[in-house]
């Protein structure tokens, strides 16, 4: 059994059942299976072979899901790319993992496949563009591609995350890594054919793995939610009602927006039977309101960095009055073992704090271009406390990696991008605020007296970074403050940023 077999088996057993409901229509398992076969043959014709990497740079759609399956059937690995990333970042990733082909739009291919990567094969999901276009796929067979058997440790996909050195890094996930999580989650959530899962997370985000593959694994259907729908929380709530979504999975920020501005708490009834959240702590006051409004729904907190997928979980079975902390991240799952160690390397006991370690089937193969991770435990960099009841509680990070509205990012990557600006001499980026009010604040010192405008900085970021990494505010200084040993005094900058943001917040509320 490998990841590609999940769709193949459901197509064999229930070809007429709805597989994917997307912004570009809906498709049954049988139809999706045939489209995936044509894509496989099309990619083969373009020269893609077992072990190659194929990028998918598309808005969320049935075509992008089909492309993933087409790639897997060749024994190749897909690389989902953020549709909101600038072409320069996509080019960096194409080069980094030495892609054989890119599935994109004609516009996307023209913006990226030039110069030294101009010879990369292209399949366009629309008309025109270099290489094959979607209509060309009709000329390829819809019969299964008889490729080599896929092994547990063969690469299935690569998810690029923010890198501290200024370059994104590729997390390599094997068939076993993905399946161990999908099988556990399908079982824990008791996903069945009649379920309709939501897919809110973009495909380059590891949250999307559950939605698609738990559906394929069980013959349920998945409803793709286009990114732009997030701008209208009422539409998300309407979609839950109209599409009869039974299992919702997203970052808490989205659920809070749906409560605050979408009327989620005002509905007469909801079809949901499970709400799964991950990616950031769910502020307890919001979770409590949701839990108390819809007490019959199961609430599960999933935890895990991209490198391990979901390795712990916690099911909320009551929130006591007066609780101020978020719910725990819980206990190990997906067949993994988790524990936490203190600075001296010894395992923590109840009541103590330490760094969470993970070993087991969901731990990644490694980062692309670096030596394999092997069987050694993965140190998450997350500090946790072990509670007396055996659950782990998330405390915070021990490095500069941060989460902003559910997105994981390295401040160093933003600083490196800003450092490319010809006028900027030095820069430090800090995070201020929490939850929905989290802001990325850049402190910048320039070479001369002239400094770029705020919008110049925004544009500069937008040309190099995904949208969620564009700084929210900029403060120009003559020079950055230093600690006694000469390092940039980030604590001081964070205090300044918090102070300024607090003044702005108070001022907004007064107005």
């Amino acid at each position: 059994m490998s990841l590609k077999d999940l769709l193949i088996q459901s197509a064999r057993h229930m070809p007429e059942a709805l597989a994917v409901d997307g912004p570009d229509g809906s498709i049954t398992y049988g139809e999706l299976d045939l489209v995936a076969n044509r894509i496989t043959w099309g990619l083969y014709d373009l020269g893609v072979r077992t072990g190659d990497r194929v990028g998918i740079w598309l808005d969320k759609s049935i075509r992008s899901v089909a492309a993933m399956q087409g790639v897997l059937r060749l024994g190749a690995a897909y690389v989902p790319l953020d549709p909101l990333s600038p072409a320069s970042r996509v080019r960096t990733i194409i080069k980094d993992c030495d892609m054989r082909a890119l599935v994109s739009t004609a516009k996307g291919a023209e913006a990226t496949l030039t110069g030294e990567i101009g010879n990369i094969a292209s399949l366009c999901a629309d008309m025109g563009g270099p290489g094959l276009c979607w209509d060309d796929l009709q000329s390829f067979s819809d019969k299964p591609f008889e490729g080599p058997e896929t092994g547990d440790n063969d690469l299935a996909y690569i998810l690029y995350t923010s890198g501290s050195t200024g370059k994104p890094k590729g997390v390599c996930i094997s068939n076993l890594n993905a399946l161990a999580f999908v099988e556990w989650a399908s079982d824990e959530l008791k996903v069945k054919k009649s379920d309709r899962l939501s897919n809110h997370a973009p495909f380059h985000f590891d949250l999307s793995v559950l939605d698609i593959y738990a559906a394929f694994h069980t013959g349920a259907s998945v409803t793709l939610i286009p990114d732009m729908m997030s701008y209208a929380p009422r539409r998300l709530v309407n979609l839950i009602r109209q599409k009869k979504i039974t299992i919702w999975y997203s970052v808490p920020s989205v659920l809070i927006l749906m409560m605050e501005q979408g009327g989620l708490l005002d509905e007469q009834s909801i079809p949901l039977r499970a709400i799964v959240f991950a990616g950031e702590p769910f502020p307890i006051k919001h979770l409590k309101r949701l839990y108390e409004r819809w007490p019959a729904v199961r609430y599960l907190n999933f935890y895990g960095p991209t490198e391990t997928n979901v390795c712990t979980f916690y099911e909320v079975k009551g929130i006591e009055d007066g609780r101020s902390k978020p719910v725990p991240i819980g206990r190990e799952c997906s067949g993994d073992r988790v524990w936490a160690i203190k600075n001296d390397g010894t395992e923590i006991k109840p009541g103590e704090e330490g760094e969470l370690m993970v070993s087991g089937p969901t731990v990644m193969l490694g980062y692309w271009g670096r030596s394999p991770h092997g069987d050694k435990p993965y140190p998450t960099g997350d500090i946790v406390r072990l509670e007396k009841d055996g659950n782990y509680e998330y405390i915070g990070r021990q490095d500069h990696m941060v989460k902003v509205r559910g997105h994981r990012l390295e401040l160093g990557e933003i600083e490196a991008a800003l450092g490319e600006h010809p006028v900027i001499h030095e820069v430090a980026v800090v995070v201020s605020g929490s939850d929905m009010n989290t802001r990325l604040i850049a402190f910048i010192a320039c070479n001369g007296n002239e400094h770029p405008t705020f919008l110049d900085i925004k544009r500069h970021c937008a040309e190099r970074l995904p949208r969620y990494m564009i700084v929210d505010d900029v403060i120009f200084l003559d020079e950055l403050p230093r600690t006694r040993n000469g390092k940039v005094d980030r604590l001081n900058l964070k205090r300044d940023a918090d102070y300024i943001q607090e003044i702005k917040r108070t001022s907004n509320e007064t107005n």
């Binding site: 729908m229 701008y231 405008t453 919008l455």
Partner: protein, 85 residues
Amino acid sequence: MKQTEILEVLKRYISREILDGRDIGLDGSTPLLEWGIINSMEIARIVSFIQNRFHIGIPDDKIIAEHFINLSVLSHLVVGLGKGG
């Protein structure tokens, strides 16, 4: 109101409420979403501002990325909705 007047009012709102006055270079064609000037939270605030200022409600199905690309497109939408379309 004319489209140019609506655009000016929206520009002043974004300058004041989102950019804290740092609006050098902001015009009708500045990419609002692509440059991270506005996000989903701010879109909700802008929709509410348009309702209060112009008494024009933007229906949920019109709150899509394409309508918030820049001020020129957004002001055209407001004009169209004001005419009953």
